[in-house]
Symmetry: C2
Subunit: 270 residues, 2 copies
């Protein structure tokens, strides 16, 4: 049997403002679209991929553009790396959502003039609310992934990744499974929600005003609402080998050696 | 209009051995599949996503499992970070293909017992050969992406990414473009070949023996054969802020300070 997947964008979602009922607006757009094409009616096992930008807008995460720097500082729990350039300082930080990204994910594209937009405070909670609301309203067991556009170390550009998830299995954990030859698979834990987030970006697009996409054909990954959220995908603890940028870690090492030598010198003098 | 995308796996590709004609084997599998279901006949604008493993196998990149460590060393141009654990040393390196990945991408899953498999020596050249061969044989202008499974900094698990590409545009470069509000988009260069690679993994899977998938609906990204290859996606030069792991960079800084102090001490003594 040929494994198949189909994806499409949800059209007709209006510009979102604080306190808009996102569940109602998404459900209406889906209903309008499926009235025109019954194939596009949601089914249990479909996964809805929602751009975090509209979640942030509905949750009132707008700040005046002039307060962008303060907002970045407020959403930063740790500076990972920074580089000064003629236009200012480029900072990669760990955000309060547990993500490592440039400028704490605060964005000035696709937002009204004069405003900047923070990430949802708790994207997994946002995903759960959307999942509960849309399951109830549409009567189908769907999964929800909330996405943002994120850069990667060692690679140019960005891809969309999952920053929130509900009702969907995060990874296909193949540690302990066997390959097609019946031999153990090494180290493989495919992060399918990130792969789904990237796939959905291919039909959403950033210039077309389509903030939600449907992925059909991954029923096997749709779960109960009590599955772990996307926050558990972050690796920012002891097993993070890139806790600081190279320049930052070098400076820490340099300063530690200097402090050590000075303290030895001082002990000799005493 | 609703943007749509469909993906499916190519079934019936046999286990690949050195010197197998991959173009012929993929073309035959596609023909068999499309005889059963005419919708699955390739069309111009389709993108074929090929797991690097079968490319490596056809190109004879197998090495005896006992020589795995030597093969890793041979394919490493630079150690980025390493960590010793009870089972050995885990190394993240820059490979001769310009990729930053664990163990130089040398894999022991889905390969015959007693062997390990190196990455294709030049995945862009492999992609070009497949693209030229399949375009000729099937008479349709398709794109080719060669993928591997790669870990990311700050995030658990792996996703599939593009390590080779031919006949396909790598990124949707939105720098300078406008958002849906007509305002300039900031810093966005969507790496669509990585998003396509991840999407295709969702229908290929690592345990099912389906090494090739088709993506339909992205005609706009299919190009001439002279488009840049995936190697240009690597960021391993001056603008790489994570050239070394934190521990490695810290040690370099520490040693630099010690050397500096010792040289000052020596100057005083002279």
């Amino acid at each position: 049997m040929t494994p198949r997947l189909s994806l499409w964008g949800i059209t007709g979602i209006p510009e979102i403002s604080p306190n808009d009922d996102l569940v109602a607006l998404i459900a209406e757009a889906i209903t309008t679209q499926s009235n025109a094409d019954p194939d596009l009616a949601l089914q249990s096992g479909d996964i809805l991929v929602v751009t975090s930008k509209i979640v942030s807008k509905a949750e009132g995460m707008q700040v005046p553009a002039a307060e962008r720097e303060q907002a970045i500082a407020a959403d930063t729990v740790r500076v990972v790396a920074e580089r000064v350039h003629p236009g200012g300082t480029f900072r990669i930080v760990e955000t309060r959502q547990g993500l490592v990204m440039a400028a704490a994910g605060i964005d000035m594209s696709n937002v009204p003039e004069g405003t900047a937009l923070r990430l949802p405070a708790d994207p997994d909670a946002s995903a759960r609310a959307l999942c509960t609301g849309l399951r109830e309203r549409l009567g189908v067991d769907i999964g929800i992934i909330v996405t943002d556009t994120i850069g990667r170390a060692w690679r140019i550009g960005q891809t969309d990744m999952a920053i929130g998830a509900a009702g969907v299995q995060l990874t296909d954990d193949l540690r302990g499974a066997n390959d097609a030859n019946g031999r153990p698979l090494h180290v493989t834990q495919a992060v399918i929600v990130d792969e789904i987030a990237g796939a959905a970006d291919l039909v959403k697009g950033k210039t077309t005003g389509i903030p939600v996409a449907v992925v059909r054909g991954l029923d096997r990954y749709v779960t109960d609402l009590d599955a772990p959220g996307a926050r558990t995908l972050s690796r920012t603890g002891d097993d993070d080998m890139f806790r600081f940028g190279s320049a930052e870690a070098y400076r820490l090492g340099y300063e530690a050696a200097m402090a050590e030598m000075n303290s030895r010198k001082k002990q000799k003098q005493d």
